[in-house]
Amino acid sequence: MIKIFIVEDEKPISDLLRMSLTKAGYECKCAFDGIAAADILETERFDLILLDVMLPGATGFELMEYIRHLDMPVIFITAKNMVEDRVKGLKMGAEDYIVKPFEIIELLARVETVLRRYNKLGQMIEIAGLTIDTRSMLVKRGDEEIPLTRKEYELLLLFARNPGTALYRETIYERVWGSDYFGDSRTIDLHVQRVRKKAGWEDKLQSVYKVGYRLEV
């Protein structure tokens, strides 16, 4: 199981990260200040560290100096949306950064990207009778390949990566079409229909009333 270390002094946010990441299938450990985090890092290894910049004890940047030699990927969490801060973090060797306030789905996507970059995640996702090869972008049912358009594939992947989560139409639109949602539900509904049919997920990909869709597993 993939282990993620959450260093965040705000208890509500720490809990939020822990809850969401646990739900997404990661194992989490939390530290609430810089010193405690350093102590834990001395004895334990993690696949990913989520690091807040403003920490009591030692700041995220100070801690980063220490982590750099440990060869663990780091994602900074910062309230400051200043370019210098972001650049500073990335220059120090962080893999990515997330600016508060963030949405859970964005956090999960970034976590996944970094983990994939470090080959901590497999390339194959097996879900609801399908096999998705994220490298070759191939979707198979058994040995039979399912032909999908680019958007259909991305839509399918989004559901596959967030099973059991009610995905809101605006979230789906932002994730798959990459721009702000202006209430154009027809496009989404149409694509979901097609994915449902092609993947044979007629009973699994359920619509959530007035909200969006959820993949039941």
């Binding site: 705000e10 739900k23 995905l167």
Partner: protein
């Protein structure tokens, strides 16, 4: 052009003018003197000859016959022959134009001397009529085409029925050659003097403008960003005073710029902290709400998430209210009334006592009868804020003591607790917005880090001062120093 160069040129021009005018006046005066001497000598010798001839005329007194002028010719020849005379030539002529006698150099005379001298029209540029002795006596200076100067004198005397004219010519060249020589020498002297003067005035202007150059160098240093640079050792003259004024200006400027930088830095810090304070609860609210709407969570987690949303929402509410207070404080005009400190503190104590009693905290107030000009609502909130801080500092069963007394026109209100105190190195930061000594504890007690910022604003609005003394694990004393209205202790 450089100021030094200008000064040098001005000096040199002035020197040249002075030397030039002085020199010409001197030379012309000396020339005039010399000329006068020569003229007087010439006049006296001419008069002498005239006198001699007049005597001869009286002695002769013969009629108009041939050889009647013999005596004159003889007398004049004798005079001419005598070596020690100062004239160049003599001529005696009859009024009808006949020339009776001429000595050598007769060419120096004109054709018709009587007309020339006594007539209205004179071709020479200068004529003096000497009437002192009552004689007909004329004097003129002329210049030949060769450039030599001569003096011609003419006089008249009676010989029988006719008038005879005596003319004499004197050499004036020494005067003019002396003048030329003087001018030549003076020109050379002038050039040397002006060169020397120019050099001296260059040195002088260099010396006088050197403080200006120093000042300008310092100004450039300051302009290039080094604000700590000051003009020193410029002197005590006008430029020195300018340097002092300049330094004063730079001081002010430096202060202003530092203040501005400070304000900007504080503002930036405030904005940074503010963003953090705002985004943290927002992250929780958005995150938990997202979690709740997207996932079917176990009941316990659902409860936690809802609770977090509620708590963080409350925090945002407190934050926005306090910020509003701060903004209102800065914008509004308040009316200050003279109010008894004992009364307002008594009200505050009555208000908080029940709450404090629940946590076994004793509160006592001991105030004298001083009165201060205060805005009652604001001041109440200041007192309550500080009491609340004291409450938060006390873990269990402590006491809060309030004292107020006037001394020397000031009223000092002290609010002392025996709580956990504030570390010394944090003491200076506690008035900063969003600063909390113990962040997690403040959070759990519902603080947003704006309380003391607000108190400080209220205190300064009253023209007062807020100071803190604290010792770790012994307690904190907050002192509010106000101007007392009346102090009838």
């Amino acid at each position: 052009m450089k100021f030094g160069t200008k000064m040098m040129i001005a000096f040199t021009v002035m020197l040249a003018l002075a030397f030039g005018i002085g020199g010409s006046v001197l030379i012309s005066a000396s020339t005039g003197n010399y000329l006068n001497q020569l003229q007087e000598a010439a006049a006296s010798s001419h008069r002498l000859i005239l006198f001699t001839l007049s005597a001869v005329s009286e002695a002769t007194q013969t009629g108009e016959q041939s050889g009647e002028y013999e005596d004159f010719v003889n007398a004049l020849s004798r005079l001419d022959a005598h070596g020690e005379h100062n004239w160049l030539a003599l001529r005696l002529s009859h009024e009808d134009g006949r020339i009776i006698y001429t000595s050598r150099e007769a060419g120096l005379f004109g054709n018709n001397p009587a007309e020339q001298i006594l007539g209205e029209r004179v071709v020479f540029y200068d004529i003096y009529l000497d009437n002192v002795s009552g004689e007909q006596f004329a004097m003129l200076t002329f210049r030949t085409t060769q450039g030599s100067y001569f003096l011609q004198l003419a006089g008249q005397f009676q010989f029988g029925a006719s008038a005879l004219f005596l003319e004499s010519v004197y050499d004036l060249s020494p005067v003019f050659s002396a003048r030329q020589e003087q001018q030549r020498i003076y020109r050379q002297l002038f050039v040397v003097l002006i060169a020397l003067g120019a050099a001296l005035s260059w040195l002088l202007s260099f010396w006088m403008t050197s403080p200006l150059r120093r000042l300008s160098r310092i100004t450039r240093t300051i302009a290039s960003g080094d604000l700590s640079c000051r003009a020193t050792s410029i002197g005590s003259d006008e430029i020195g005073i300018l340097a002092v004024d300049f330094n004063n200006m730079t001081d002010k400027l430096e202060n202003n710029i530092n203040e501005m930088k400070d304000t900007m830095k504080r503002q930036e810090e405030f904005m940074g902290s503010f963003a953090h304070e705002l985004k943290t609860p927002l992250t929780s609210i958005i995150g938990y709400a997202d979690l709740l709407r997207g996932h079917s969570l176990p009941d316990a987690d659902k409860q936690d998430a809802a609770n977090y949303i509620f708590m963080e929402g409350r925090r945002l509410e407190v934050l926005s209210l306090k910020l509003l207070d701060l903004i209102v404080l800065k914008k509004r005009d308040f009316t200050f009334l003279p109010i008894s400190i004992a009364q307002i503190i008594g009200d505050a104590v009555r208000l908080v006592r029940p709450v404090l009693a629940k946590r076994n905290i004793e509160i006592s107030a001991n105030c004298d009868g001083s009165t201060c000009k205060i805005e009652p609502d604001l001041f109440m909130s200041l007192i309550l804020n500080i009491i609340d801080n004291a409450r938060k500092a006390i873990d269990e069963a402590g006491e809060i003591k309030i004292t107020a007394k006037s001394e020397g026109g000031h009223c000092e209100i002290k609010i002392a607790d025996n709580g956990r105190g504030i570390p010394e190195d944090e003491l200076y930061k506690i008035k900063d917005a969003f600063y909390r000594v113990d962040k997690s504890r403040a959070r759990s007690q519902g603080g947003v880090g704006l309380g003391l910022r607000l108190c400080d604003e209220i205190a300064s609005l009253h023209g007062g001062e807020l100071t803190f003394e604290s010792e770790l694990n012994v307690g904190t004393t907050v002192t509010i120093k106000l101007k007392a209205e009346t102090a009838d202790a």
